[in-house]
Amino acid sequence: MADFLFWMIWALIVASAALVAFGNNLIHSVFALMGTFLGVAGIYIFLNADFLAVTQIVVYVGGILVLLIFGIMLTNQISSAQISQSSVQKGLGFVVVLGLLAIILSAVLPHDWVGSTLPMAFEETVSGIGYLLFTDYLILFEIASVLLLGALIGAATLARKEL
């Protein structure tokens, strides 16, 4: 049952990401992106990352996706629901990306990762992440807070009417 669910989520992520990459309607692409984000949250649960799964849903689906939809609504004339988008150099891009995929897979799959056959048993991660955040990763945490403040002020300044 869990195996079946895993491969369903796997297929959902690949299919919706393909719709993001190849779809012709921008609105369809954004809603397909929601499928990708929710699927990745499901993959996090299979990877024992309970905190990350919830963070993924809250930040990506609740924040970034809404921001992207606002971006589309504010930069198109919404006279029809059909917001088309075009691509350039599809053939060349496809060949290059396909080659890159072949290179990555041929490098990653034959490699014998140490310990890759014994997964870690599930234990909740919230307390561990909180502990590490205020010990080993304290500098990174402080830098992140300054960066978020800078991004907040920068975005608000850039988006004003009179620049």
Binding site: V14, A17, N48, L68, I72, V96
Partner: protein, 101 residues
């Protein structure tokens, strides 16, 4: 499902689809969506290696910071895109080449 390679294949496919989106799209918002796909692929790799290889929480921490960076980047990028639209009336990145002249 209990093997590392299924996650690595998934994240490789997700990365390549994101890269294809970034390379071929003309709409700036669509390019931003491609960047989010790439960041998600990186996150899957970090957490998968954390579960199967290193058996600790460092990969989770890095993923938290990547999600935080993605949020900040999306906010600033959309503010820039709004300015581009006010200036040009479109957001096609291949026509935003004023610095070339």
């Amino acid at each position: 499902m209990d093997h590392l390679s299924s996650y690595l294949v998934l994240s490789a496919i997700l990365f390549c689809l994101g890269l294809y989106t970034v390379v071929t799209r003309r709409n700036a918002v669509a390019i931003l969506m491609g960047v989010e796909l790439i960041l998600n692929a990186a996150n899957i790799n970090f957490v998968a290696f954390s579960k199967f290889v290193t058996h600790d929480l460092d990969g989770h921490l890095i993923s938290v910071f990547i999600i935080m960076l993605a949020a900040a980047e999306a906010a600033v990028a959309l503010a820039i895109i709004l300015n581009l639209y006010n200036d040009r009336g479109h957001i096609n990145v291949d026509e935003a080449n004023a610095l070339k002249q």
